[in-house]
């Protein structure tokens, strides 16, 4: 069966846009490091445009170069022609609430698409790749929203790439961090980091007392999530190490309660770690905050209080 909309098309689109960003950066004389900054965006574009055909070792070299360029200060900001506040006020007054429509379009199309596109056929033609329906819907929403925004503001399409470049440059090399961390997670799994941690956790923690066992499971989920940056990676390890043998096997707890609240303990860890870059580091960059850990600073009290509540809930609800 042939498929009309694929994730690969979004990759090509993203790659092409990044390549234009690279080209604009190379021509930007106001950027003190325009050659290395442009190279950074061009290398990232190559991953999107040719990721499937590049030999893995070449992609690996690209990753190392991206890390070196980003990590050693090779990616810097140019000056961007922004409009005066008065001009923006006037435009805000003229366009009014219509300004919200393109953003609403992304959200609504993403929602509708992810709910309906799943099994839509036209004869033997499948409308969208089933496993990537959510991302494809976000892509459709973004394209429709962009068309609306361009029409409403009477700007040329190139202006939208310039604006995207302005936002990318304010985030800088942090934009590749989520992808780097996910890659590190895969490498950790291959090298047996999970096994080693589970081994330490079960060998060195006294877990005869049900309250201690519950606390060890909850804190273990949170800590392991902080190290891996992802609660999904922590769940199998901690549940196989402490959850199943001790909480279920020794103390006969309720498995559904353990799983539900255990995963939430992991999420408390996610709120406190720079390893969860797309939730904690990227927003700080996106909001142009001076302290790159500002979001974690705002979150940790909520996370710690909730973790305490979770230990109590686990103890009360698991052994009813």
């Amino acid at each position: 069966m042939t498929t009309l909309l694929k994730l690969d098309q979004l990759f090509l689109l993203t790659g092409a846009a990044l390549l234009i960003v690279a080209w604009l950066t190379w021509r930007d004389r106001s950027n003190p490091r325009r050659w290395s900054s442009g190279l950074f965006w061009a290398l990232w574009a190559a991953i999107y445009l040719a990721g499937d055909v590049l030999p893995p070792i070449v992609s690996g070299l690209i990753v190392v170069m991206l890390a070196a360029l980003g990590g050693l200060g090779g990616v810097s900001l140019g000056k961007h022609a922004t409009r005066e506040p008065a001009e923006r006020q006037a435009s805000a007054a003229r366009l009014g609430n219509k300004l919200f429509l393109p953003i609403l379009t992304i959200t609504v199309l993403a929602l509708v698409g992810s709910l309906t596109l799943k099994d839509l056929h036209l004869g033997s033609l499948l409308l969208a790749e089933t496993k990537n329906v959510t991302l494809i819907s976000v892509g459709l929403g973004a394209l429709a929203g962009l068309a609306g925004a361009l029409w409403m503001t009477r700007e040329r399409p190139m202006q939208s790439v310039r604006e995207a470049r302005r936002l990318l440059e304010t985030m800088g090399s942090a934009v590749i961090l989520p992808q780097m961390l996910a890659t590190l997670g895969l490498l950790f799994t291959d090298a047996g980091v999970g096994k080693a941690v589970a081994h330490l956790a079960t060998d060195y923690i006294a877990v005869d007392n049900p309250l201690f066992a519950v606390a060890a499971y909850a804190l273990g989920m949170a800590l392991f999530t902080m190290v891996m940056g992802n609660a999904f990676a922590a769940f199998p390890v901690m549940t196989a190490g402490i959850g199943i043998p001790i909480l279920l096997g020794m103390h006969h707890g309720d498995a559904a309660v353990m799983a539900a609240i255990g995963m939430f303990c992991g999420y408390c860890g996610t709120l406190m770690t720079p390893m969860a870059a797309n939730f904690n580091i990227i927003p700080a960059a996106l909001l142009e905050l001076k302290d790159k850990n500002a979001v974690i600073r705002a979150q940790w009290p909520t996370a710690l209080m909730l973790l305490t509540v979770n230990v109590i809930l686990l103890k009360l609800l698991m052994f009813r």
Binding site: L95, F100, L186, V227
Partner: protein, 241 residues
């Protein structure tokens, strides 16, 4: 470590150590992560070309991750150029009862209930927080307290992002068809434990309610402390001059 008699190698934990030390010493995170990857590979006795290949394959495989951040950027940038922030701030300034804390409590409620119904794409840092929620929060603070110093402004912007995260995390997991519930159920099933996904979702509700209460209480408290926070930040600014 030598004392434990077991076949489990502890060497791969070197990578974890690199990450912790790197982040604590505040080295550039991109460099730290790359170094941790290479260290982990070397500790697992992989040859260098295989480590590179693994890094490359992983990076290509995970390139779908940044898309939800990247795709809305052209629209957000374009609309900001045409006064989106100014419009969002003007709108919130017109609502008399709006304060920064109350606004974020409302956003938390919408984000969490929407996620609990499986509508996780309603919200997010790029499409919602940067263009709308954060500027509205700033405007609400200024409406009641006059000009707000940058340090306090940044604190509330960070809080807006934190609120998005809390709402998403503790909402999505009580939606039955969400991926993590499937993951939990299949993992337990592989180990011979039968659970009903609906029960896993239901037992998440107490934590979801607690998350809403705790975070809302913090937001309201921050609201009450706003005058002191502003005074302190102004004094610090004066002292710096």
């Amino acid at each position: 470590m030598q004392a434990t008699v077991s076949s489990v190698s502890l060497w791969p934990l070197i990578g974890v150590a690199v990450v912790i030390v790197g982040f604590v010493l505040r080295f550039n995170p991109v460099l730290v992560v790359a170094a941790a990857g290479i260290a982990t590979g070397l500790a697992a006795k992989l040859p260098l070309d295989l480590i590179l290949a693994k890094l490359g394959t992983g990076f290509v495989k995970t390139r779908n991750l940044p898309l939800t951040l990247l795709l809305p950027l052209p629209i957000i940038g374009l609309l900001e150029r045409h006064g989106l922030r100014e419009r969002a701030q003007g709108w919130i300034a017109g609502i008399r009862s709006a304060t920064a804390g109350r606004l974020l409590v409302v956003y938390l409620f919408i984000r969490e209930t929407a996620a609990a119904m499986g509508l996780t794409s309603l919200g997010g840092h790029a499409p919602m927080v940067r263009p709308l929620v954060a500027p509205m929060t700033e405007a609400a603070a200024e409406k009641t307290h006059g000009p707000v110093p940058q340090a306090v402004r940044d604190k509330w912007k960070a809080m807006a992002s934190a609120t998005d995260n809390v709402g998403l995390f503790f909402g999505e997991d009580i939606f039955v068809a969400f991926g993590s519930i499937v993951l939990m159920q299949t993992f337990l099933a592989e180990n011979g434990i039968v659970t009903d996904p609906l029960r896993i979702a239901l037992w998440g509700i107490p934590t979801a309610v607690a998350a809403f209460c705790i975070h809302s209480a913090r937001l309201i408290r921050l609201d009450h402390r706003l005058p002191q926070d502003i005074a302190r930040a102004r004094a610090a600014e004066e002292a710096a001059k």
